[in-house]
């Protein structure tokens, strides 16, 4: 019977909604093979995050709360996860596929001599064991994989698992002891550079407007891409080309090596559609593409395509969207 440990992710107390996809995955496994799952929240003063996770069917919400765990440094967090997984007899450890999980979970897995699968998009029971599906080759290949071992680690694509409904029952909360002076201290957190834009995160938004090479500078990006996103209440994203050119910060990059998004509506503005970019957004429900080049590969995946100069089409579209709501 699977005994799953779901690793919650939050950003200084702000729950990352992708955590709920990992919870949904754990729920699916437990529904197929009975067993149970716990959720582990690691951090400093994380009581509000813990509360948000109590209504999703976990046997227990575990909390490792300590000042030394304020920031998600890989060495400490991996040790806490490995220790808790051992104490709880976990047979599976699951997190959402994000830079947080990708940094920490493989380290925790190796501490337990456990193998791991990244970017899992499905699981089903075959006989008495699970078989997983995961993406590779920039989303161009889906592999069906068996994973052996007493403990198995997985990251799951948030885009593949819808958030579970909130239940009436409240999971008990259990504090786990943190022996901070026994945790490794190879890594020291120095700081983070991130701009508060007031817009939603592209992995959590229902509308994402992304800009590509056609956008010439940061001011134009803000005016055109930001403007269209705001008119639709959406998030902004970017192709790799714009991040490389210094026009947009790395945290906006959508693609194989950036974020993977699957909103209801994705508007690709001046993005050619390299496979590395498509890997990050092709599970979107409705894709709209605006591009000057009629042969741009983005049109091969777009539900609605418009061949136009984005500098003319986007301001007109923003204006007309605003007039509609005014």
């Amino acid at each position: 019977m699977p005994n799953i440990l779901v690793i919650a992710e939050h950003d200084i107390g702000q729950l990352k909604l992708a955590t709920l996809s990992a919870v949904a995955f754990a729920g699916q496994i437990v529904a197929a093979a009975s067993g149970s799952f716990d959720i582990l929240v690691i951090g400093n003063n994380v009581a509000p995050t813990v509360e948000l996770l109590r209504n999703y069917g976990a046997s227990t919400v575990l909390v490792a709360d300590h000042a030394q765990l304020e920031h998600p440094v890989g060495d400490k967090y991996a040790q806490v996860i490995a220790d808790v997984a051992t104490q709880r007899g976990a047979t599976m450890v699951v997190g959402a596929a994000s830079t947080f999980s990708k940094d920490i979970l493989p380290r925790a897995a190796a501490l337990l001599d456990a193998a791991m699968l990244s970017d899992v998009i499905g699981a089903h029971l075959a006989g008495d064991d699970f078989i997983f599906r995961r993406v590779m080759f920039a989303g161009n290949v889906i592999a069906t994989v068996k994973l052996g071992g007493a403990v198995r680690f997985l990251t799951v694509r948030a885009t593949a698992f819808a958030h579970p409904p909130k239940g009436a029952e409240s999971s008990p909360v259990l504090s786990v002891a943190v022996e901070a002076d026994k945790l490794p201290a190879f890594i020291e957190y120095v700081g983070r550079e991130s701009k508060e834009t007031g817009r939603p995160d592209s992995t959590e938004a229902r509308v994402v407007v992304s800009g590509g090479r056609a956008i010439k500078n940061a001011e134009d990006f803000e005016r055109l891409i930001g403007g269209l996103a705001d008119a639709l209440g959406g998030a902004v994203g970017s192709s790799r080309a714009l991040v490389d050119a210094g026009v947009t910060p790395n945290s906006l990059q959508v693609g194989q090596t950036g974020k993977v998004v699957a909103p209801d509506l994705y508007i690709a503005v001046g993005i050619s559609g390299a496979i590395q970019h498509l890997a990050g957004m092709k599970d979107t429900k409705v894709i709209v593409a605006i591009n000057k080049d009629p042969d741009a590969p983005i049109f091969e995946v777009a539900d609605f395509g418009m061949v136009a100069d984005v500098y003319q089409a986007v301001p007109e579209l923003v204006q007309k969207l605003r007039n509609q709501t005014a």
Binding site: D75, K102, F137, I187, R192, N250, K259, A302, E316, Q324
Partner: protein
């Protein structure tokens, strides 16, 4: 300072990936191979560190069959000093690879290990972190800025996280995995290729390392995801607006 750089042989990133008709494997017939692009970035960074310090030894290493010599030669041509191939015909999963790399690390005792954050074939993004855990040393993943500090006892790293650039300082030796924007790798020069032919390239049988490694992951089947169909083209912003309105209404935003 000795720097160990890990390279993986992967299908060229511009290759269109085809799967064999029985779904057993990627069809590699006629496929061109390259050094994993993230690993090239890691190697470039080691070369820049060497240029800054004036002196360093750069060892490139990989695990695989004879064909991997090609990628090690590219590494030597870019400027690495020597190369090491651990030979095996087995397909190893990330944990097994990390165990072999740990043996290489113990043999080489480098001050720093650089490698790509992920290989562009299996996209696992696990090996560096697993290697750091097995060795009981620090790690900095997705690094886009690297600076050696405090008399080269630590590395100050900018990491590309989902929330923005995070800075950490990690004690050396450590495993550092490179992201796209760490640098732009140099091209291999003709003199570089000629020089590379004379540089030492050592081959070791995996069995000689005295490790028992097996893969716990077993790929049962590969398939291509269902392609999206191209939709319709609209001519004017008004047409596009109408389509957007229908989309938005259908999704009850």
């Amino acid at each position: 300072m000795k720097i160990l750089v890990l390279l993986k042989r992967v299908p060229d990133p511009d290759t269109k990936i085809r799967i064999k008709s029985d779904g057993s494997a990627v069809d590699l017939d006629g496929v061109k191979f390259a050094v994993n692009p993230f690993d090239s970035i890691a190697l470039e960074e080691s070369l820049r560190i060497k240029e800054r310090l004036g002196e360093a030894e750069i060892v490139v290493a990989t695990i695989g069959g004879d064909e991997c010599v090609e990628q090690l030669r590219v590494g030597l041509a870019m400027g690495a000093d020597r190369a090491l191939l651990v030979k095996t015909a087995d397909s190893l999963d990330p944990l097994a690879i990390a165990k072999v790399l740990a043996a290489i690390y113990r043999r080489e005792q480098p001050a720093l290990v650089l490698m790509g954050k992920q290989a562009i074939d299996d996209d696992s993004n696990q090996v560096g972190q697993m290697l750091a855990a097995l060795l009981g040393i620090g790690q900095a993943t997705f690094v886009s800025k690297l600076e050696l500090i405090e008399n080269h006892t630590k590395a100050r790293c900018g990491r590309e996280t989902d929330a923005g650039i995070e800075t950490v300082s990690v004690r050396l030796p450590a495993i550092i995995t490179s992201d796209l924007r760490l640098n732009e790798p140099r091209y291999v020069s003709l003199p570089g290729i000629i020089k590379a032919k004379k540089k030492p390239l050592e081959e070791l049988a995996l069995a000689s390392l005295g490790l028992a490694v097996t893969s716990r992951t077993q790929v049962l089947k590969l398939e291509t995801p269902a392609p999206r169909k191209a939709g319709v083209r609209v001519k004017t912003v008004d047409d596009l607006l109408e389509k957007l309105n229908i989309t938005i209404r259908c999704r009850t935003f």
